[in-house]
């Protein structure tokens, strides 16, 4: 079961939809979300995205896992807006963020990374005229998705090492080794990419 928004195999209509169409729809909803400015419009939007999870045959608890990491940020944003703009605005902002994260998760859970990369590479082809390599952008996307569980794993290792040495609440003792390990991993990944033929 995916806890990090990675592809879940399936044969639902959403799984079969072309990656380009899903990405375009996500972009359109992202841009269109600026028009969601009434508190009563947010609930139906979230419900619509959740119905997408049902269509894809993805359990509700998996959908919930996708927004769980947002809790702290959402809490902070909500508190800010309640104080500055009132509870209605807070509800709209947090609701729209949650809806967009759910939608992005729905796309990644129902789309193979390679299909997504192919769609992005196709969309970026016109950028060749300004000497941007679309394959590079596709590779960047794939590596970003792949790196999420790697960095989460490194963070868990660092946290365990911290606990073992009794440094339970030191942000610096957590951040420094995590950054160092992440950079080392990036270095090793660079070597692996060269070894696998991504050399120019």
């Amino acid at each position: 079961m995916s806890t990090l928004g990675l592809y879940l195999p399936g044969s639902s209509p959403l799984h079969r939809l072309p990656a380009g169409a899903k990405l375009a729809a996500m972009l359109a909803v992202g841009v269109g979300s600026i028009f969601l400015d009434r508190y009563w419009s947010v609930g139906p939007a979230i419900a619509l995205v959740l119905s997408g999870f049902a269509v894809a045959g993805i359990p509700f608890r998996t959908a919930l896992r996708q927004v769980r990491p947002l809790v702290w940020i959402a809490g902070f944003v909500a508190a800010f807006h309640v104080v500055v703009n009132g509870w209605e605005r807070a509800f709209v902002v947090v609701g729209v963020i949650a809806m967009l994260v759910l939608l992005a998760s729905l796309v990644t859970l129902t789309t193979r990374t390679t299909d997504m990369v192919d769609a992005v590479v196709r969309a970026c082809r016109p950028l060749r005229v300004v000497r941007v390599d679309p394959e590079r952008i596709g590779l960047l996307l794939a590596l970003s998705i792949r790196s999420v569980p790697v960095v989460v794993g490194l963070a868990e290792e660092v946290r365990d090492a911290q606990r073992a040495r009794g440094l339970t609440a030191s942000p610096r003792a957590f951040a420094v080794p995590l950054i160092v390990r992440s950079l080392r991993h990036a270095d090793a990944l660079g070597d692996a990419l060269v070894a696998r033929g991504v050399d120019d």
Partner: protein, 228 residues
């Protein structure tokens, strides 16, 4: 055939320079070659020279007559490389996608990529995990995936830099058994000396120098005495 002529490699510059390989001369054309040595002896740098991941500061490395300094790209197509830590070389999120990665970059058709990936999944007993996230595999399965992703591109030579170091004995034996079945020339860096018993030739590095070159029993005996 791999020819290493008068190779010295130095990391860093001026005051901070560190010699990691010193005047190495060797020709490797046997099917199974082991490389052993203490940590920091230069063995990993040596094998990285073979597929052009590292280019020599002085001297020449040639693979089938091609110079790694001038022809790195072509050499990397012929010489596959497998690292110690599989997590660092798995570049795609799922098993199937990672095996397909190297093939897609070679411009093969989708149908051919799918056929070769399917065959690799079966050969390396990964078909049940094809669409699983790679990070959820066990250490042994990750190393098998790393090997499968390299071997699916059909290199002439496979370099393995301590592929069993992070594995338990069972998985180390599994990887070792797989290596034995390969048709390719294999160059294996390893601390598990038992895994080199049936190799055709083993070379030993110590303190930047190639200090022994001979049969597996002689080389491992020499190395044990050196480390005593």
């Amino acid at each position: 055939m791999i020819e290493v002529e008068g190779v010295t490699h130095i990391y860093g510059e001026a005051a901070n320079e560190r010699v990691v390989l010193n005047e190495v001369n060797v020709t490797l054309d046997e099917p199974r070659i082991g490389v052993i040595g203490a940590n920091g002896s230069g063995k990993s740098t040596f094998v990285r020279l073979i597929n052009g991941l590292v280019v020599p500061t002085r001297g020449k490395v040639r693979v089938d007559g091609r110079d790694t300094t001038e022809d790195g790209r072509e050499i990397r197509r012929r010489v596959g490389f497998c690292f110690t830590d599989p997590d660092a070389q798995i570049v795609m999120p799922t098993v199937r996608e990672d095996i397909a990665f190297g093939l897609r970059r070679r411009g093969l058709s989708k149908a051919e990529v799918a056929a070769r990936v399917g065959s690799a999944l079966e050969t390396y007993a990964l078909e049940d995990h094809a669409d699983h996230p790679a990070h959820l595999l066990s250490g042994g399965q990750k190393q098998l995936l790393a090997l499968a992703s390299v071997l699916v591109t059909e290199p002439d030579t496979l370099v393995l830099d301590e592929p069993t170091t992070l594995l338990d004995l069972r998985n180390a034996a599994k990887v070792s058994a797989l290596v034995r079945t390969l048709d390719q020339q294999v160059i294996l860096v390893n601390h598990h000396l038992d895994l080199l018993n049936d190799f055709d030739r083993v070379i030993v590095f110590d303190d930047t120098l190639l200090v022994f070159d001979g049969s597996a029993p002689e080389a491992t005996d020499f190395y044990r005495r050196l480390m005593a």
